[in-house]
Symmetry: C2
Subunit: 344 residues, 2 copies
DNA sequence: CTGAAAGCGCTTACAG
DNA sequence: CTGAAAGCGCTTACAG
């Protein structure tokens, strides 16, 4: 078994093998209509016989139409299943159109994100799907745009930046969830979890407050405690909340993963979620379905959102002068067990 | 706000700006020791001032040391959290070494996988982490290797192929799980889920049979029914099993996601997993911890496995003549609630 | 220590 | 319909 790291076959060799010029081979490969079918076939045959592999790097270097054709995906992390769902939606769409993706996970660090973006620029991506880390500055986005690379912001919006965006209606979602809890008879509803640096957090808070208002219940900052964004923090959060003078009877969680963490913490204190305490999450991750009690949530249709983000990027790539798109997808309240029965 | 898609700055311009030749600029950029510190600084300054971005494609085109430096990751899908965990481990490691990754998901289709590989070849990846789709032929692997691109097989082994591999000890894992169930007093233990085309399936089955043997229990093919690999199939599977003359009292599942699906199906039939029926899974996905009853499992240390796969690929890349590595990680039995108490 | 020149594998006007 | 030639942005011997 020889270590025969063969040199890559070049188009030039293909052309020679097919008995045509390099120009003709290139045009045939690219489906240029001025090359007759018969010639194309000769070229294809040579490609097959020689095991030729196109060199995208060389092609995009020479070609004026910038970009390698690959699209970049930057996501904060994959630990939260919501991002995974989003990524699944993105990948499915990308597979349909046979596009290649560069993936970077920033684990929520702006510094890592900067490095990631620089790398993707070096690889000459043709478009970027950016799930920006908390605290991302708009300069970062502008830098990418200055290279003529379209970027679609997912979920995180920079209001004064001319950039395509797709996200969900956080205010509506927060409102619907809270309203449901109020309608079930709850008066002490906590809003837990989430990073306050995030646009989405403020939207969901706003919806929450709006619903409270409508029901004539005063907003109590005690019920919106500071907390980190991962599940491990949930026990402390729950302990804090249920040691209050007047503890909550319902929780609206910034996202599902925190909601599940909170329910686990509740259970371990002997409090039964869905019975003693109502819980509604946000996102709609698969785990919410298997958990007991199953999690009521505001679905953000994560896979669909991912797919739509790709579509938006594709439209922008094929039509750079299209007006800036700002897609706000509707949310939907999905009632399962954790929101419980009405209280009287 | 002008659409100023500026032309990319080239190294040539950087050189001119710094007052050095293109050669010097290139060498400074690449940290060539023959360039004195002072000259390097001039170049760095020019890079900064001009907002220069390195063109990796052009560099790797010219450079003899093939490859763009990016590493490819091909995974079957992200719907099963095990792959997500693996990917998290991979990404964390890649972030440490500041490497870029191309991600492809095949959704278990060999056809899509072929396309994915071709694309990655076109992008001149420097290495590939391949979680091969069921039914992948060894020719596919050989094709990549012929281009001198190192590939690390994860989980799926091609015994007669000279290729680095990392996976877990499936036989041991299957043995440990089954032995545990036997020790708890079970005599009718089903082995459910998994794709029979997979090497890993046969390993786990072998361990299962071995344990049965040791306990003098005859292998009953009825308890290893055909089934698909996703959770949706679980209800049918459970119905089938529990309609048998002599139904199982314990389930050893090929993986955690099926185990959870099975437990959900059990619950909906009024059978209490962890009490009426013992369940042990394989993989160790986070959802197993939040599920009720919490899932006993054979951990495959997915994140660690991902990290180790990257390390293996890196060693291979820096040392192509290193002997073929065949890393089999030990598994570990993690006992939680679903495996239940001893039966008498 | 530094520079001029060739060339990586393609595409693209420009002729014919 | 087809080909010779220039050039994309780099790296790398080779001189000096």
């Amino acid at each position: 078994m020889k270590k025969s790291t063969q040199k890559r076959v070049t188009l030039k060799q293909v052309a020679a093998h097919a008995g045509v010029s390099l120009t003709t081979a290139s045009m045939a490969l690219n489906g240029n209509p001025s090359i007759p079918e018969a010639t194309c076939q000769k070229v294809y045959k040579a490609i097959e016989e020689l095991g030729y592999v196109y060199d995208r790097g060389a092609a995009s270097l020479r070609s004026s139409t910038a970009g390698s054709g690959a699209i970049g995906i930057i996501v904060t992390d994959l630990v939260n299943p919501f991002y995974t769902e989003l990524l699944i939606g993105i990948q499915q769409k990308l597979n349909e159109t046979e596009q290649t993706s560069l993936l970077g996970t920033t684990f929520d660090s702006c510094e890592v994100q900067d490095r990631m973006i620089s790398m993707m620029l070096e690889y000459r991506i043709s478009g970027l799907l950016l799930f920006a880390a908390p605290g991302t500055s708009s300069e970062v986005i502008q830098r990418i745009q200055r290279f003529g690379i379209p970027v679609v912001l997912i979920n995180r919006l920079f209001p004064d930046l001319p950039c395509d965006y797709i996200g969900v209606d956080n205010v509506q979602g927060g409102y619907d969830a809270t309203r449901q809890l109020l309608a079930l008879g709850h008066k002490r509803i906590a809003f837990i979890g989430g990073n306050r640096q995030l646009y989405t957090w403020h939207g969901r808070l706003q919806g929450y407050q709006q619903a409270l208002n409508e029901f004539g219940i005063e907003f109590d900052p005690e019920l919106t405690p500071e907390s980190l964004c991962n599940r491990d923090e949930a026990p402390n959060l729950i302990e804090h909340l249920f040691n209050l003078q007047d503890p909550p009877t319902a929780l609206f969680s910034y996202n599902d993963t925190i909601a599940i963490g909170a329910m686990m913490a509740l259970k371990s204190r002997g409090i039964v979620p869905g019975k003693d305490v109502a819980v509604i999450g946000f996102d709609d991750i698969p785990e919410g379905l298997s958990f007991s009690p199953s999690l009521s949530t505001v679905t953000a249709h994560p896979r669909l959102q991912g797919a739509k983000a790709v579509e938006l990027l594709q439209s922008r790539m094929s039509n750079p002068s299209m007006p800036i798109q700002n897609i706000v997808m509707p949310t939907e309240l999905v009632l399962r067990e954790s929101s419980g029965e009405p209280r009287y």
